[in-house]
């Protein structure tokens, strides 16, 4: 047998005893562990959901143009003439201006809301990369009218199956038919699930937008540090428009998002405090039986430090087990049940988004954060009660 150093063997013995001690009080410890697992489960679901949503948000922003121009009339958005592009030619530093039709199509028969996006993707700076997001097919070419690319759930809702042709209603209720030339891949579900991408001309036809008008103009800027200046110049040249920069969108988004996550964090912190109080209470409430047991151990030659070590192992075992159970349950909750318990709180835009698959990416960092929120307060809350019970005097066993 391999030689194990005395110090380590002693720790193993204490661990062994801690295990049997937990087992002897399984009812009490199981109760604590269940509550603890639940707290970790909530924290973990929340953290994993936040992570999944953040990555989706980043993906949204990645494809957002640096500047978006929308025409305003009576405080409401209306179609913008494409001729405005020419007015901006004088501004130096603009890489490209792309007209875009972006709107929502409400399908009355299925009560579903689809996002319709139409732009010349070849004109976008990273346009060629977009083909990678398709599981098969290609984007509608500029000359190809009557074609569309669909997101996964659009295909399902329209019950297309293997058919490649579908129709949508114009505002005057006449039908416009489309040929499906591509399907978005599952990986981009978050963004493309409810999306129909088509030609600008087809979109105008579908929504009855006047010729050479679009819903907004996307401005791509070469140097990020010039975005603000260029935005100001555009606003000066086109006084009847609203000019949105990417960072403004990002900030609005961030404010809403961090308010929500902060609010949820604080709610969870309250739960955590309640749990810490429970842990403290459970750990400090020494039953006469426990007190007697510690007295016996101490008179038999257990040091105060040994009792502390037993308590440490007990806390560690309980919290480690609760951590594993809680995190696993949270992963299952987020990955397989779409975080159904927390989603209403977190996803403001779920109203417009049809259901999408959340894919939590669990990194060491996330686990460490969950650990900090759960195990750390627990260990911190049990250290003083653990010490208190370890100071039971040995002579209590002979009195």
């Amino acid at each position: 047998m391999a030689m194990i150093p005395k110090g380590l063997e002693k720790q193993l013995n204490t661990l062994d005893f801690a295990l049997s001690s937990l087992w002897r009080r399984k009812l009490k410890n199981l109760g604590i562990m269940m509550v603890f697992s639940l707290v970790i489960f909530l924290l973990g679901s929340f953290q994993m959901l936040t992570g999944a949503l953040t990555s989706s948000a980043d993906a949204v922003l990645e494809n957002t143009p640096e500047i978006t121009i929308q025409k305003m009339s009576a405080g409401r958005q209306e179609a913008i003439p494409q001729t405005y592009i020419k007015k901006l030619n004088s501004i130096y530093g603009i890489r490209a201006i792309i007209p875009r039709v972006w709107g929502y199509y409400f399908d009355e028969s299925t009560l579903a809301n689809f996002t319709v996006l139409a732009l010349d993707h070849n004109a976008m700076p990273n346009g060629s990369k977009l083909n990678l997001t398709l599981s098969d097919g290609h984007f509608p070419k500029k000359t190809e009218t009557g074609t569309a690319v669909l997101g996964g759930s659009v295909q399902d809702i329209l019950e297309l199956g293997d058919r490649r042709v579908f129709s949508l209603f114009r505002p005057d209720l006449s039908l416009k038919s489309f040929q499906v030339v591509g399907i978005f891949s599952k990986q981009t579900d978050l963004l493309t699930n409810d999306l129909i991408v088509m030609n600008v001309d087809d979109a105008r036809d579908l929504f009855a937008i006047p010729t050479s008008h679009v819903t907004d103009l996307c401005v791509y800027v070469a140097n990020p540090t010039e975005i603000e200046t260029i935005a100001k110049k555009i606003a000066g040249l086109l006084p009847d428009t609203r000019v949105l920069t990417k960072s403004q969108i990002q900030k609005t988004y961030q404010v809403v998002f961090s308010w929500r996550s902060g609010f949820a964090s604080i709610c969870l912190l309250t739960a955590l405090v309640a749990f810490a109080i429970l842990a403290w209470d459970k750990a400090s409430g020494l039953s006469p039986e426990e007190k007697r047991e510690i007295g016996i151990l101490k008179i038999l030659g257990w040091e105060t430090g040994d009792i502390l070590a037993v308590r440490f192992w007990e806390s560690t075992l309980v919290s480690a087990l609760a951590f594993i159970i809680g995190c696993t349950a949270a992963y299952i909750h987020v990955a397989f049940f779409d975080a159904s318990l927390l989603k209403p709180v977190m996803v403001g835009w779920s109203v417009i988004h049809p259901p999408f698959k959340l894919l939590p990416t669990v990194t060491l960092a996330d686990l460490l954060l969950i650990f900090t929120f759960s195990v750390l307060p627990y260990l911190g809350a049990t250290v003083i009660p653990a010490w208190r019970c370890s100071t039971v005097p040995p002579d209590s066993a002979i009195r």
Partner: protein, 335 residues
């Protein structure tokens, strides 16, 4: 940026450490005022019990501190996503004047709490508790550091706003002369590698000699050497090894190697370097306690263990740090 789970997590951990520290210091004050080993009063018995409390609190504090150190770096890594211009933790830490000091104070904390625990172990190994006063004065001196730690961290988070444009690691640590903010200039790679491996060999040799025969001046050299090596190794990791790990010649960052993309190899590097340096450094630091009553044997025993541990970690560090470098050299530039 307080309404963010990372900020909240860091603050929570900081507060817990602070509470533990304050409780430990309460014991410290009581012990310094009332400690009287020759009396048999209830107070003395309580104090003897409280010594256990203090040491447990500091031990927990050390564990938590190591955790928050990692958490802090990882938090900075996520903060960089909302800070314009920052692409990794370096950028996020440089986003205001409190990031780097907070990090350094946290690292210093790990060393100081660790050393307190060493002192404590030595102290309770003797029936007379000869270091009791020194130990608790030292503990009280750590308390301001704890406050500094949480203050810097809070200031860092408070002043962290997404508007500030900061530099990323490519600018700060990169060898390109784009800006004047080059932290590591004037080290040629070969010279640095020579220093790094030279120091490893010298430290190993000195350590082995010390294990065979104890020579005080050599022990001082050994500990001082570790302080030096801590610096050299950090610079070497940043400016040489990291770019081999990233397989990109101009990517030199001390934090990105902690990411899952690089198989968390940074943790292996830092978690061998820091304990190795700690034990190496403490070898000579405990020397003054040798002439205390019946502590000489324990101190010598500790020093031998410390040297052995530091040498084992040194070997591990050398192996882990060289792995990507050798892989790159052997495979002829491809990895």
């Amino acid at each position: 940026m307080f309404l963010n789970s990372w900020s909240l997590g860091l603050t929570l951990a900081g507060l817990i450490i602070l509470v533990l520290g304050v409780f430990a210091c309460r014991t410290a004050i009581r012990v310094l005022r009332h400690w009287n080993p020759s009396s048999d009063t209830n107070l003395q018995i309580t104090l003897e019990n409280e010594i256990w409390l203090a040491s447990t609190l500091v031990a927990y504090g050390l564990g938590f501190q190591i955790l928050t150190l990692v958490l802090f770096v990882l938090a900075a890594d996520t903060f960089c996503q909302v800070i314009v211009g920052a692409m990794c933790a370096t950028g996020a830490l440089l986003a205001n004047n409190f990031g780097m000091p907070a990090l350094l104070v946290k690292i210093a904390g790990v060393f100081l709490y660790g050393f307190w625990i060493v002192l404590h172990k030595l102290d309770i190994s003797s029936e007379t508790y000869p270091l009791v006063k020194i130990k608790y004065i030292y503990l009280l001196l750590i308390l301001p550091l704890l406050f500094a730690d949480i203050t810097l961290q809070t200031l860092y988070i408070a002043f962290l706003s997404p508007d500030i444009i900061t530099s990323c690691c490519a600018v700060v640590f990169g060898s390109s002369a784009e800006t004047g903010r080059n932290l590591i200039v004037g080290f040629s790679q070969t010279g640095l590698l020579f220093l790094y491996y030279g120091s490893i060999i010298v430290l190993a040799a000195v350590g082995i000699i010390l294990l065979k025969r104890w020579l005080l001046p050599l022990a001082v050299v050994f500990s001082a050497g570790w302080l030096w090596f801590l610096g050299v190794a950090t610079v070497a990791i940043i400016s040489v090894f990291s770019s081999y790990i990233y397989a990109m010649p101009y990517h030199n960052c001390p934090f990105c190697i902690l990411k899952p993309e690089y198989h968390y190899i940074g943790f292996a590097l830092y978690f061998t370097l820091i304990p190795a340096a700690f034990f190496g450094l403490s070898t000579a630091l405990v020397e003054p306690f040798k002439n205390r009553v019946d502590l000489a044997g324990q101190v010598t025993k500790y020093q031998r263990t410390a040297i052995k541990i530091s040498l084992i970690f040194l070997l591990l560090l050398a192996a882990i740090s060289s792995y990507h470098y050798l892989l790159y050299k052997i495979s002829g530039g491809e990895s």
